[in-house]
Protein backbone atom coordinates (compact mmCIF):
# COMPACT_ATOMS: atom_id res chain seq x y z
CA UNK A 1 0.00 0.00 0.00
CA UNK A 2 1.97 2.98 -1.25
CA UNK A 3 1.50 6.46 0.13
CA UNK A 4 2.47 9.87 -1.08
CA UNK A 5 5.09 12.26 0.24
CA UNK A 6 3.99 15.86 -0.01
CA UNK A 7 5.86 19.08 0.53
CA UNK A 8 4.47 22.19 2.20
CA UNK A 9 4.31 25.33 0.06
CA UNK A 10 5.21 28.41 2.05
CA UNK A 11 2.81 31.23 1.19
CA UNK A 12 1.21 28.75 -1.16
CA UNK A 13 4.08 28.83 -3.63
CA UNK A 14 7.55 28.23 -2.14
CA UNK A 15 8.53 24.58 -1.80
CA UNK A 16 10.12 24.48 1.63
CA UNK A 17 12.27 21.38 1.15
CA UNK A 18 13.45 21.90 -2.39
CA UNK A 19 14.43 25.47 -1.55
CA UNK A 20 16.15 24.33 1.62
CA UNK A 21 18.18 21.80 -0.36
CA UNK A 22 19.17 24.43 -2.89
CA UNK A 23 19.97 27.10 -0.30
CA UNK A 24 22.21 24.78 1.71
CA UNK A 25 23.93 23.38 -1.33
CA UNK A 26 23.96 19.85 0.01
CA UNK A 27 26.32 17.35 -1.58
CA UNK A 28 25.14 14.70 -4.00
CA UNK A 29 25.71 12.08 -1.30
CA UNK A 30 23.49 13.91 1.16
CA UNK A 31 20.74 14.28 -1.42
CA UNK A 32 21.03 10.62 -2.34
CA UNK A 33 20.44 9.61 1.26
CA UNK A 34 17.51 11.93 1.63
CA UNK A 35 15.94 10.77 -1.63
CA UNK A 36 16.33 7.15 -0.62
CA UNK A 37 14.69 7.74 2.77
CA UNK A 38 11.75 9.48 1.14
CA UNK A 39 11.38 6.64 -1.33
CA UNK A 40 11.18 4.18 1.55
CA UNK A 41 8.53 6.31 3.26
CA UNK A 42 6.43 6.02 0.14
CA UNK A 43 6.60 2.26 -0.22
CA UNK A 44 7.05 0.65 3.19
CA UNK A 45 4.44 0.46 5.86
CA UNK A 46 4.82 2.76 8.81
CA UNK A 47 5.98 0.16 11.33
CA UNK A 48 8.96 -0.68 9.13
CA UNK A 49 10.17 2.89 8.90
CA UNK A 50 9.03 4.37 12.19
CA UNK A 51 11.93 3.12 14.28
CA UNK A 52 14.68 3.61 11.75
CA UNK A 53 13.86 6.51 9.51
CA UNK A 54 11.51 8.47 11.73
CA UNK A 55 11.69 9.85 15.24
CA UNK A 56 8.50 10.90 16.92
CA UNK A 57 5.80 11.87 17.41
CA UNK A 58 7.79 14.63 19.07
CA UNK A 59 7.12 15.92 22.57
CA UNK A 60 3.87 17.51 23.52
CA UNK A 61 1.76 15.39 21.24
CA UNK A 62 2.51 17.70 18.35
CA UNK A 63 2.23 14.89 15.80
CA UNK A 64 5.50 16.01 14.27
CA UNK A 65 8.16 13.55 13.19
CA UNK A 66 11.79 14.00 12.24
CA UNK A 67 13.15 12.16 9.25
CA UNK A 68 16.49 10.72 10.33
CA UNK A 69 19.01 11.01 7.57
CA UNK A 70 22.51 10.25 8.75
CA UNK A 71 25.07 11.73 6.41
CA UNK A 72 28.82 11.66 6.57
CA UNK A 73 29.32 14.97 8.40
CA UNK A 74 25.82 16.06 9.36
CA UNK A 75 22.45 14.80 10.46
CA UNK A 76 19.60 15.95 8.23
CA UNK A 77 16.35 16.14 10.15
CA UNK A 78 13.55 17.45 7.96
CA UNK A 79 10.33 17.74 9.94
CA UNK A 80 7.22 16.07 8.65
CA UNK A 81 3.84 14.90 9.78
CA UNK A 82 1.27 12.39 8.64
CA UNK A 83 -1.70 13.79 6.79
CA UNK A 84 -2.64 16.35 8.01
CA UNK A 85 -5.08 16.84 5.13
CA UNK A 86 -6.26 14.31 2.58
CA UNK A 87 -5.19 10.72 3.20
CA UNK A 88 -4.09 10.48 6.85
CA UNK A 89 -1.44 7.90 5.97
CA UNK A 90 0.41 10.22 3.58
CA UNK A 91 3.38 12.28 4.75
CA UNK A 92 3.91 15.99 4.41
CA UNK A 93 7.36 17.51 4.68
CA UNK A 94 7.04 20.71 6.65
CA UNK A 95 10.45 22.17 7.31
CA UNK A 96 14.07 21.39 6.51
CA UNK A 97 16.48 21.17 9.43
CA UNK A 98 19.92 19.92 10.42
CA UNK A 99 20.33 18.55 13.91
CA UNK A 100 23.35 19.99 15.61
CA UNK A 101 22.92 18.27 18.97
CA UNK A 102 20.24 17.13 21.38
CA UNK A 103 17.13 19.03 20.27
CA UNK A 104 19.31 21.75 18.69
CA UNK A 105 18.46 22.47 15.13
CA UNK A 106 19.62 24.66 12.32
CA UNK A 107 17.54 26.76 11.87
CA UNK A 108 17.06 27.01 15.62
CA UNK A 109 13.30 27.42 15.47
CA UNK A 110 12.80 24.62 12.97
CA UNK A 111 10.38 22.72 15.18
CA UNK A 112 8.19 25.76 15.78
CA UNK A 113 8.23 26.59 12.09
CA UNK A 114 7.22 23.05 11.24
CA UNK A 115 4.33 23.26 13.66
CA UNK A 116 3.23 26.58 12.23
CA UNK A 117 3.44 25.20 8.72
CA UNK A 118 1.31 22.25 9.71
CA UNK A 119 -1.34 24.55 11.16
CA UNK A 120 -1.18 26.70 8.04
CA UNK A 121 -1.61 23.66 5.85
CA UNK A 122 -4.68 22.55 7.79
CA UNK A 123 -6.19 25.98 7.15
CA UNK A 124 -5.06 25.95 3.49
CA UNK A 125 -5.19 22.34 2.33
CA UNK A 126 -3.97 23.25 -1.15
CA UNK A 127 -0.66 24.61 0.05
CA UNK A 128 1.26 21.45 -0.66
CA UNK A 129 2.58 19.57 -3.63
CA UNK A 130 3.85 16.06 -4.21
CA UNK A 131 7.57 15.91 -3.45
Amino acid sequence: MNREVWEFLREGKHRVIREWLEDRNFSAKDRAKLDFCLERLRTLDFALVSNKLLAGPLRGGTKLYKLRVRCQDKELRPFLCRGPVGDPLDYTLLQGAIEAGEHRFNPTNAEERALQNRETLIRNPNWRELY
Partner: protein
Protein backbone atom coordinates in the same frame (compact mmCIF):
# COMPACT_ATOMS: atom_id res chain seq x y z
CA UNK B 1 9.13 21.32 -10.53
CA UNK B 2 5.77 19.74 -10.14
CA UNK B 3 4.96 16.60 -8.22
CA UNK B 4 5.96 13.27 -9.72
CA UNK B 5 4.23 9.98 -10.33
CA UNK B 6 6.14 6.71 -10.45
CA UNK B 7 7.50 7.28 -13.95
CA UNK B 8 8.52 10.79 -12.95
CA UNK B 9 10.36 9.51 -9.88
CA UNK B 10 12.20 6.94 -11.97
CA UNK B 11 13.19 9.52 -14.52
CA UNK B 12 14.42 11.85 -11.81
CA UNK B 13 16.49 9.10 -10.22
CA UNK B 14 17.90 8.14 -13.59
CA UNK B 15 19.17 11.68 -14.06
CA UNK B 16 20.59 11.86 -10.54
CA UNK B 17 22.45 8.58 -10.97
CA UNK B 18 24.60 10.18 -13.62
CA UNK B 19 26.57 11.63 -10.68
CA UNK B 20 28.71 8.73 -9.48
CA UNK B 21 28.92 9.93 -5.88
CA UNK B 22 25.11 10.16 -5.75
CA UNK B 23 24.99 6.75 -7.39
CA UNK B 24 27.33 5.10 -4.86
CA UNK B 25 25.52 6.59 -1.92
CA UNK B 26 22.10 5.60 -3.19
CA UNK B 27 23.32 2.06 -3.87
CA UNK B 28 24.70 1.78 -0.34
CA UNK B 29 21.37 2.90 1.06
CA UNK B 30 19.52 0.38 -1.06
CA UNK B 31 21.80 -2.37 0.21
CA UNK B 32 21.93 -1.64 3.92
CA UNK B 33 18.46 -0.24 4.47
CA UNK B 34 17.07 -2.97 2.25
CA UNK B 35 18.59 -5.75 4.34
CA UNK B 36 17.53 -4.27 7.65
CA UNK B 37 13.99 -3.61 6.44
CA UNK B 38 13.64 -7.13 5.12
CA UNK B 39 14.93 -8.76 8.29
CA UNK B 40 12.43 -6.74 10.27
CA UNK B 41 9.62 -7.47 7.83
CA UNK B 42 10.30 -11.21 7.83
CA UNK B 43 10.65 -11.35 11.58
CA UNK B 44 7.29 -9.67 11.84
CA UNK B 45 5.82 -12.00 9.25
CA UNK B 46 6.95 -14.95 11.38
CA UNK B 47 5.49 -13.32 14.49
CA UNK B 48 8.67 -13.58 16.52
CA UNK B 49 10.48 -11.06 18.68
CA UNK B 50 14.05 -9.89 18.32
CA UNK B 51 14.90 -11.98 21.37
CA UNK B 52 13.45 -15.11 19.80
CA UNK B 53 15.28 -14.54 16.55
CA UNK B 54 18.51 -13.93 18.44
CA UNK B 55 17.99 -17.17 20.31
CA UNK B 56 17.55 -19.03 17.04
CA UNK B 57 20.92 -17.85 15.79
CA UNK B 58 22.60 -18.37 19.15
CA UNK B 59 23.11 -14.71 19.79
CA UNK B 60 21.67 -11.83 21.84
CA UNK B 61 18.90 -9.39 21.04
CA UNK B 62 21.20 -6.37 20.50
CA UNK B 63 22.75 -8.10 17.50
CA UNK B 64 19.36 -8.39 15.82
CA UNK B 65 18.56 -4.84 16.81
CA UNK B 66 21.81 -3.75 15.21
CA UNK B 67 20.81 -5.41 11.96
CA UNK B 68 17.29 -3.99 11.95
CA UNK B 69 18.20 -0.50 13.17
CA UNK B 70 21.94 0.10 13.02
CA UNK B 71 23.11 2.49 15.70
CA UNK B 72 26.37 4.15 16.55
CA UNK B 73 28.64 6.62 14.90
CA UNK B 74 29.53 4.56 11.86
CA UNK B 75 27.87 5.65 8.67
CA UNK B 76 27.30 2.05 7.62
CA UNK B 77 26.98 -1.05 9.76
CA UNK B 78 29.63 -3.75 9.72
CA UNK B 79 27.48 -6.83 9.53
CA UNK B 80 29.14 -10.11 8.79
CA UNK B 81 27.83 -12.21 5.96
CA UNK B 82 27.87 -15.24 8.25
CA UNK B 83 25.55 -13.43 10.69
CA UNK B 84 23.17 -12.45 7.93
CA UNK B 85 23.25 -16.01 6.65
CA UNK B 86 22.34 -17.38 10.05
CA UNK B 87 19.50 -14.86 10.33
CA UNK B 88 18.26 -15.87 6.88
CA UNK B 89 18.19 -19.54 7.86
CA UNK B 90 16.54 -18.76 11.19
CA UNK B 91 13.80 -16.99 9.28
CA UNK B 92 13.34 -19.97 6.99
CA UNK B 93 14.94 -18.29 3.98
CA UNK B 94 18.27 -18.22 2.14
CA UNK B 95 20.69 -15.36 1.77
CA UNK B 96 21.31 -14.32 -1.81
CA UNK B 97 24.09 -11.91 -2.74
CA UNK B 98 24.34 -10.69 -6.30
CA UNK B 99 26.15 -7.86 -8.03
CA UNK B 100 23.88 -5.62 -10.06
CA UNK B 101 24.21 -2.70 -12.42
CA UNK B 102 23.59 0.75 -11.00
CA UNK B 103 20.88 1.30 -13.57
CA UNK B 104 18.80 -1.53 -12.12
CA UNK B 105 18.00 0.77 -9.21
CA UNK B 106 15.81 2.84 -11.51
CA UNK B 107 13.48 -0.08 -12.15
CA UNK B 108 13.35 -0.84 -8.45
CA UNK B 109 11.82 2.53 -7.61
CA UNK B 110 8.38 1.97 -6.14
CA UNK B 111 8.73 -1.81 -6.11
CA UNK B 112 10.28 -2.39 -2.70
CA UNK B 113 7.06 -2.58 -0.73
CA UNK B 114 6.15 -4.37 2.45
CA UNK B 115 4.57 -7.04 0.29
CA UNK B 116 7.67 -7.49 -1.83
CA UNK B 117 9.87 -8.03 1.24
CA UNK B 118 7.82 -10.95 2.48
CA UNK B 119 8.93 -14.54 1.88
CA UNK B 120 7.26 -17.79 2.85
CA UNK B 121 8.94 -19.74 5.62
CA UNK B 122 10.49 -23.07 4.67
CA UNK B 123 7.51 -25.12 5.82
CA UNK B 124 5.13 -22.84 3.94
CA UNK B 125 7.16 -22.66 0.75
CA UNK B 126 4.57 -23.33 -1.95
CA UNK B 127 7.21 -24.55 -4.41
CA UNK B 128 8.56 -27.22 -2.10
CA UNK B 129 5.33 -27.98 -0.28
CA UNK B 130 2.35 -27.02 -2.45
CA UNK B 131 -0.36 -25.36 -0.41
CA UNK B 132 -3.51 -27.37 0.20
CA UNK B 133 -6.66 -26.01 -1.29
CA UNK B 134 -8.11 -23.07 0.62
CA UNK B 135 -10.67 -24.16 3.20
CA UNK B 136 -14.28 -23.80 2.26
CA UNK B 137 -16.74 -21.75 4.28
CA UNK B 138 -18.39 -23.62 7.10
CA UNK B 139 -21.48 -25.19 5.50
CA UNK B 140 -23.22 -25.25 8.88
CA UNK B 141 -22.75 -21.52 9.42
CA UNK B 142 -25.60 -19.07 8.80
CA UNK B 143 -25.80 -17.82 5.24
CA UNK B 144 -24.47 -14.33 5.99
CA UNK B 145 -21.49 -15.74 7.88
CA UNK B 146 -20.68 -17.90 4.87
CA UNK B 147 -20.71 -14.82 2.69
CA UNK B 148 -18.18 -13.21 4.98
CA UNK B 149 -16.02 -16.33 4.93
CA UNK B 150 -16.14 -16.37 1.16
CA UNK B 151 -14.68 -12.87 1.25
CA UNK B 152 -12.05 -13.41 3.89
CA UNK B 153 -10.69 -16.89 3.29
CA UNK B 154 -9.27 -16.21 -0.19
CA UNK B 155 -7.91 -12.89 1.04
CA UNK B 156 -6.04 -14.52 3.93
CA UNK B 157 -5.00 -17.63 2.02
CA UNK B 158 -2.96 -15.72 -0.53
CA UNK B 159 0.29 -14.01 0.36
CA UNK B 160 -0.77 -10.58 -0.83
CA UNK B 161 -1.48 -8.27 2.07
CA UNK B 162 -4.06 -6.04 0.33
CA UNK B 163 -4.45 -3.98 3.45
CA UNK B 164 -6.78 -1.51 1.80
CA UNK B 165 -9.51 -4.13 2.01
CA UNK B 166 -9.01 -4.40 5.75
CA UNK B 167 -9.12 -0.63 6.10
CA UNK B 168 -12.40 -0.53 4.22
CA UNK B 169 -13.93 -3.36 6.20
CA UNK B 170 -13.00 -1.77 9.50
CA UNK B 171 -14.63 1.43 8.30
CA UNK B 172 -17.76 -0.62 7.65
CA UNK B 173 -17.61 -0.50 3.88
CA UNK B 174 -17.18 -3.35 1.43
CA UNK B 175 -18.91 -5.82 3.72
CA UNK B 176 -21.66 -8.07 2.44
CA UNK B 177 -25.22 -6.84 2.89
CA UNK B 178 -25.41 -8.22 6.37
CA UNK B 179 -27.72 -5.81 8.08
CA UNK B 180 -27.24 -2.69 10.11
CA UNK B 181 -27.26 -4.28 13.52
CA UNK B 182 -23.85 -5.93 13.36
CA UNK B 183 -20.54 -4.25 13.93
CA UNK B 184 -17.80 -4.73 11.32
CA UNK B 185 -15.53 -6.45 13.83
CA UNK B 186 -18.14 -9.11 14.48
CA UNK B 187 -18.30 -9.90 10.80
CA UNK B 188 -14.54 -10.00 10.49
CA UNK B 189 -14.29 -12.49 13.33
CA UNK B 190 -17.06 -14.61 11.87
CA UNK B 191 -15.20 -14.56 8.58
CA UNK B 192 -12.42 -16.72 10.03
CA UNK B 193 -14.61 -18.85 12.29
CA UNK B 194 -14.21 -22.11 10.42
CA UNK B 195 -13.57 -25.55 11.89
CA UNK B 196 -10.35 -27.49 11.63
CA UNK B 197 -6.63 -26.72 11.55
CA UNK B 198 -7.03 -24.15 8.77
CA UNK B 199 -8.56 -21.84 11.37
CA UNK B 200 -5.18 -21.45 13.02
CA UNK B 201 -3.54 -20.58 9.72
CA UNK B 202 -6.24 -18.02 8.95
CA UNK B 203 -5.98 -16.48 12.39
CA UNK B 204 -2.22 -16.19 12.06
CA UNK B 205 -2.45 -14.50 8.68
CA UNK B 206 -5.17 -12.21 9.97
CA UNK B 207 -3.11 -11.25 13.02
CA UNK B 208 -0.20 -10.48 10.74
CA UNK B 209 -2.28 -8.04 8.71
CA UNK B 210 -3.75 -6.48 11.82
CA UNK B 211 -0.25 -6.09 13.20
CA UNK B 212 0.79 -4.10 10.15
CA UNK B 213 -2.31 -1.98 10.46
CA UNK B 214 -1.58 -1.32 14.14
CA UNK B 215 1.96 -0.42 13.15
CA UNK B 216 0.56 2.46 11.12
CA UNK B 217 -0.41 4.03 14.46
CA UNK B 218 -3.99 4.66 13.34
CA UNK B 219 -4.73 6.22 16.71
CA UNK B 220 -2.34 9.02 15.77
CA UNK B 221 -3.51 9.67 12.26
CA UNK B 222 -7.20 8.84 12.22
CA UNK B 223 -9.55 11.77 12.31
CA UNK B 224 -13.23 12.13 11.34
CA UNK B 225 -14.93 8.87 12.18
CA UNK B 226 -11.63 7.45 13.35
CA UNK B 227 -13.04 6.33 16.66
CA UNK B 228 -15.38 3.84 15.03
CA UNK B 229 -12.49 2.53 12.99
CA UNK B 230 -10.33 2.16 16.08
CA UNK B 231 -13.07 0.50 18.05
CA UNK B 232 -13.56 -2.06 15.30
CA UNK B 233 -9.83 -2.57 14.96
CA UNK B 234 -9.29 -3.17 18.67
CA UNK B 235 -12.30 -5.42 19.05
CA UNK B 236 -11.07 -7.47 16.14
CA UNK B 237 -7.71 -7.79 17.88
CA UNK B 238 -9.57 -8.80 21.04
CA UNK B 239 -11.13 -11.61 19.07
CA UNK B 240 -7.72 -13.05 18.23
CA UNK B 241 -5.01 -14.21 20.54
CA UNK B 242 -1.64 -13.85 18.91
CA UNK B 243 0.55 -12.02 21.41
CA UNK B 244 3.65 -12.19 19.31
CA UNK B 245 1.93 -10.32 16.49
CA UNK B 246 -0.28 -7.88 18.31
CA UNK B 247 0.86 -7.33 21.87
CA UNK B 248 3.67 -4.85 21.28
CA UNK B 249 1.65 -2.63 18.93
CA UNK B 250 -1.35 -2.69 21.24
CA UNK B 251 0.84 -1.79 24.15
CA UNK B 252 2.36 1.14 22.27
CA UNK B 253 -1.14 2.34 21.36
CA UNK B 254 -2.17 2.08 24.98
CA UNK B 255 0.82 4.14 26.05
CA UNK B 256 0.04 6.82 23.51
CA UNK B 257 -3.63 6.94 24.37
CA UNK B 258 -3.74 6.50 28.11
CA UNK B 259 -3.62 10.20 28.86
CA UNK B 260 -5.89 11.30 26.04
CA UNK B 261 -9.61 11.90 26.04
CA UNK B 262 -10.51 8.70 24.33
CA UNK B 263 -14.09 7.68 23.76
CA UNK B 264 -15.11 5.13 26.37
CA UNK B 265 -16.04 2.38 23.95
CA UNK B 266 -12.70 2.73 22.13
CA UNK B 267 -10.84 2.52 25.41
CA UNK B 268 -12.82 -0.58 26.38
CA UNK B 269 -12.00 -2.18 23.05
CA UNK B 270 -8.30 -1.41 23.39
CA UNK B 271 -8.18 -2.81 26.89
CA UNK B 272 -10.01 -5.91 25.74
CA UNK B 273 -7.47 -6.38 22.99
CA UNK B 274 -4.66 -5.97 25.47
CA UNK B 275 -6.10 -8.49 27.84
CA UNK B 276 -6.44 -11.06 25.10
CA UNK B 277 -2.97 -10.42 23.78
CA UNK B 278 -0.81 -10.22 26.86
CA UNK B 279 2.85 -10.90 27.03
CA UNK B 280 5.84 -10.24 29.17
CA UNK B 281 6.06 -10.02 32.90
CA UNK B 282 5.17 -6.47 33.79
CA UNK B 283 3.64 -4.46 30.97
CA UNK B 284 0.02 -5.58 31.21
CA UNK B 285 -0.09 -5.19 34.97
CA UNK B 286 -0.71 -1.47 34.74
CA UNK B 287 -3.75 -2.02 32.57
CA UNK B 288 -4.98 -4.90 34.60
CA UNK B 289 -4.88 -2.88 37.80
CA UNK B 290 -6.79 -0.05 36.20
CA UNK B 291 -9.44 -2.36 34.90
CA UNK B 292 -9.97 -3.99 38.26
CA UNK B 293 -10.10 -0.60 39.95
CA UNK B 294 -12.59 0.85 37.52
CA UNK B 295 -14.68 -2.28 37.34
CA UNK B 296 -14.53 -2.65 33.57
CA UNK B 297 -14.65 -6.33 33.18
CA UNK B 298 -16.59 -7.50 30.18
CA UNK B 299 -14.51 -8.65 27.29
CA UNK B 300 -15.26 -10.54 24.20
CA UNK B 301 -13.40 -13.31 22.54
CA UNK B 302 -15.38 -14.72 19.65
CA UNK B 303 -18.75 -15.28 21.19
CA UNK B 304 -17.40 -15.84 24.67
CA UNK B 305 -17.84 -13.25 27.36
CA UNK B 306 -14.98 -13.36 29.81
CA UNK B 307 -14.63 -11.33 32.93
CA UNK B 308 -12.34 -11.16 35.89
CA UNK B 309 -12.12 -14.90 35.52
CA UNK B 310 -10.45 -14.35 32.21
CA UNK B 311 -7.90 -12.04 33.71
CA UNK B 312 -7.08 -14.23 36.62
CA UNK B 313 -6.88 -17.34 34.52
CA UNK B 314 -4.81 -15.88 31.73
CA UNK B 315 -2.64 -13.26 33.24
CA UNK B 316 0.87 -14.57 33.08
CA UNK B 317 2.07 -11.98 35.53
CA UNK B 318 -0.29 -12.99 38.24
CA UNK B 319 1.15 -16.39 38.70
CA UNK B 320 4.34 -14.69 39.69
CA UNK B 321 2.73 -12.08 41.88
CA UNK B 322 0.20 -13.46 44.29
CA UNK B 323 -0.06 -10.12 46.10
CA UNK B 324 -1.68 -8.61 43.03
CA UNK B 325 -4.19 -11.42 42.84
CA UNK B 326 -5.15 -11.01 46.44
CA UNK B 327 -5.35 -7.26 46.05
CA UNK B 328 -7.69 -7.72 43.10
CA UNK B 329 -9.87 -10.16 44.98
CA UNK B 330 -10.16 -7.65 47.81
CA UNK B 331 -11.18 -4.90 45.39
CA UNK B 332 -13.75 -7.12 43.77
CA UNK B 333 -15.18 -8.34 47.07
CA UNK B 334 -15.87 -4.77 48.15
CA UNK B 335 -17.45 -3.85 44.85
CA UNK B 336 -19.67 -6.88 44.56
CA UNK B 337 -22.57 -7.87 46.80
CA UNK B 338 -23.50 -11.13 48.43
CA UNK B 339 -25.68 -12.25 45.54
CA UNK B 340 -22.57 -12.62 43.42
CA UNK B 341 -21.13 -15.10 45.88
CA UNK B 342 -20.94 -17.99 43.40
CA UNK B 343 -19.08 -15.78 40.91
CA UNK B 344 -16.70 -14.75 43.63
CA UNK B 345 -16.11 -18.35 44.57
CA UNK B 346 -15.33 -19.03 40.93
CA UNK B 347 -12.68 -16.34 41.00
CA UNK B 348 -11.22 -17.60 44.22
CA UNK B 349 -10.78 -21.04 42.75
CA UNK B 350 -8.76 -19.58 39.90
CA UNK B 351 -6.16 -18.13 42.23
CA UNK B 352 -2.94 -19.74 41.14
CA UNK B 353 -1.02 -21.89 43.55
CA UNK B 354 -3.56 -21.61 46.31
CA UNK B 355 -2.63 -25.13 47.28
CA UNK B 356 0.74 -23.84 48.43
CA UNK B 357 0.71 -23.41 52.22
CA UNK B 358 2.36 -19.99 52.05
CA UNK B 359 -0.08 -18.72 49.43
CA UNK B 360 -2.94 -20.12 51.41
CA UNK B 361 -1.65 -18.38 54.54
CA UNK B 362 -1.48 -15.10 52.61
CA UNK B 363 -5.03 -15.59 51.41
CA UNK B 364 -6.23 -16.16 54.95
CA UNK B 365 -4.50 -13.03 56.19
CA UNK B 366 -5.77 -10.88 53.33
CA UNK B 367 -9.33 -12.12 53.45
CA UNK B 368 -9.76 -10.77 56.98
CA UNK B 369 -10.41 -7.40 55.34
CA UNK B 370 -13.08 -8.72 53.00
CA UNK B 371 -16.84 -8.51 53.62
CA UNK B 372 -18.11 -11.48 55.61
CA UNK B 373 -20.00 -12.97 52.67
CA UNK B 374 -16.79 -13.10 50.62
CA UNK B 375 -14.74 -14.39 53.54
CA UNK B 376 -17.16 -17.31 53.86
CA UNK B 377 -15.84 -18.67 50.58
CA UNK B 378 -12.32 -19.04 51.91
CA UNK B 379 -11.96 -22.53 53.37
CA UNK B 380 -10.47 -22.23 56.82
CA UNK B 381 -7.94 -24.83 57.76
CA UNK B 382 -6.98 -25.46 61.37
CA UNK B 383 -4.11 -27.79 62.14
CA UNK B 384 -2.55 -28.09 65.59
CA UNK B 385 0.12 -30.72 66.25
CA UNK B 386 -0.11 -30.12 70.02
CA UNK B 387 -3.79 -30.97 70.36
CA UNK B 388 -3.51 -33.40 67.42
CA UNK B 389 -6.51 -31.92 65.68
CA UNK B 390 -7.18 -30.78 62.13
CA UNK B 391 -10.25 -29.14 60.69
CA UNK B 392 -11.23 -27.41 57.47
CA UNK B 393 -14.39 -25.45 56.93
CA UNK B 394 -15.78 -24.96 53.48
CA UNK B 395 -18.86 -22.82 52.84
CA UNK B 396 -21.23 -25.38 54.38
CA UNK B 397 -19.18 -28.41 55.27
CA UNK B 398 -16.65 -29.00 57.98
CA UNK B 399 -14.22 -31.91 57.79
CA UNK B 400 -12.26 -32.79 60.91
CA UNK B 401 -9.77 -35.27 62.28
CA UNK B 402 -8.47 -35.67 65.80
CA UNK B 403 -6.38 -38.11 67.77
CA UNK B 404 -6.49 -37.21 71.44
CA UNK B 405 -3.83 -38.63 73.75
CA UNK B 406 -4.86 -42.07 74.80
CA UNK B 407 -7.76 -42.12 72.37
CA UNK B 408 -8.28 -43.27 68.81
CA UNK B 409 -8.03 -41.38 65.52
CA UNK B 410 -11.42 -40.02 64.48
CA UNK B 411 -12.45 -38.28 61.33
CA UNK B 412 -15.78 -36.58 60.85
CA UNK B 413 -17.94 -34.50 58.54
CA UNK B 414 -20.34 -31.83 59.73
CA UNK B 415 -22.82 -30.11 57.47
CA UNK B 416 -23.50 -26.57 58.57
CA UNK B 417 -27.08 -25.50 58.11
CA UNK B 418 -27.81 -22.10 56.64
CA UNK B 419 -29.50 -20.92 59.84
CA UNK B 420 -26.16 -21.31 61.58
CA UNK B 421 -27.22 -24.24 63.72
CA UNK B 422 -24.85 -27.07 63.18
CA UNK B 423 -25.56 -30.74 63.09
CA UNK B 424 -23.07 -33.55 63.08
CA UNK B 425 -24.26 -35.95 60.45
CA UNK B 426 -21.38 -38.30 60.39
CA UNK B 427 -18.65 -39.35 62.72
CA UNK B 428 -16.54 -42.30 61.89
CA UNK B 429 -13.90 -44.06 63.83
CA UNK B 430 -10.55 -44.66 62.20
CA UNK B 431 -9.14 -47.94 63.38
CA UNK B 432 -5.77 -46.78 64.51
CA UNK B 433 -4.09 -47.70 67.71
CA UNK B 434 -0.88 -46.85 69.43
CA UNK B 435 0.54 -43.47 70.26
CA UNK B 436 -0.86 -40.48 68.38
CA UNK B 437 1.06 -39.76 65.20
CA UNK B 438 0.72 -36.35 63.52
CA UNK B 439 1.64 -37.55 60.07
CA UNK B 440 -0.91 -40.37 60.14
CA UNK B 441 -3.52 -37.91 61.43
CA UNK B 442 -2.92 -35.58 58.47
CA UNK B 443 -2.97 -38.48 56.02
CA UNK B 444 -6.34 -39.58 57.34
CA UNK B 445 -7.55 -36.00 57.23
CA UNK B 446 -6.49 -35.59 53.62
CA UNK B 447 -8.17 -38.82 52.65
CA UNK B 448 -11.34 -37.70 54.36
CA UNK B 449 -11.35 -34.42 52.49
CA UNK B 450 -11.05 -36.35 49.24
CA UNK B 451 -13.94 -38.60 50.17
CA UNK B 452 -16.15 -35.68 51.06
CA UNK B 453 -15.24 -33.87 47.84
CA UNK B 454 -16.36 -36.87 45.84
CA UNK B 455 -19.76 -36.81 47.49
CA UNK B 456 -20.22 -33.06 47.49
CA UNK B 457 -19.16 -31.63 44.16
CA UNK B 458 -19.85 -28.08 45.32
CA UNK B 459 -16.65 -28.14 47.34
CA UNK B 460 -14.68 -30.13 44.81
CA UNK B 461 -12.15 -27.52 43.71
CA UNK B 462 -11.69 -26.05 47.18
CA UNK B 463 -11.21 -29.52 48.60
CA UNK B 464 -8.61 -30.21 45.95
CA UNK B 465 -6.34 -27.43 47.01
CA UNK B 466 -6.98 -27.99 50.71
CA UNK B 467 -5.80 -31.53 50.13
CA UNK B 468 -2.66 -30.12 48.61
CA UNK B 469 -2.08 -27.87 51.60
CA UNK B 470 -2.60 -30.74 53.99
CA UNK B 471 -0.41 -33.01 51.93
CA UNK B 472 2.36 -30.44 52.09
CA UNK B 473 1.95 -30.30 55.86
CA UNK B 474 2.07 -34.10 55.98
CA UNK B 475 5.35 -34.09 54.15
CA UNK B 476 6.72 -31.48 56.51
CA UNK B 477 5.59 -33.52 59.49
CA UNK B 478 7.27 -36.58 58.05
Amino acid sequence: MSGEDLDGRRERLRRQLADISYCDQYADSVLFEGVSAQVQALRRQRGITQEQLAERIGSKQPRISNVESPKGKREWPNWEVSTLNRIAHALGTRLKITLESYGSMVDEVGTVTSDSLRRPAFADDPVIFPLPAAPVPDPAAPERTRWMQELMIPWLWTDQLELQRLYDWLRGSGLPPVGYDDEPYQWLLRGIAIHGPARDHLEKRFAERLSILLGEEPDVVMRDGGEDFLRNLYWTCAGLRRPSYLAEHLWQAYRRLKRTKLRGDVRDALQAALIQNQFGATKPLEIWERMVTTGRHTWLRGGEIAGYEGILARHATITKDIDKVLWALGQISHRWTENRGPDFKGLLLKVPDLGEPTVYAQLLATSKEWPSWARAYVPVLFVDPKTMAARVTFANVEVSAEWPVGGALRTGVRHIALNATAAVVEVEEWVETGPANFRILLNAFTTKIATVAKEDTTIGAEALYMRRVTYELTLQAA
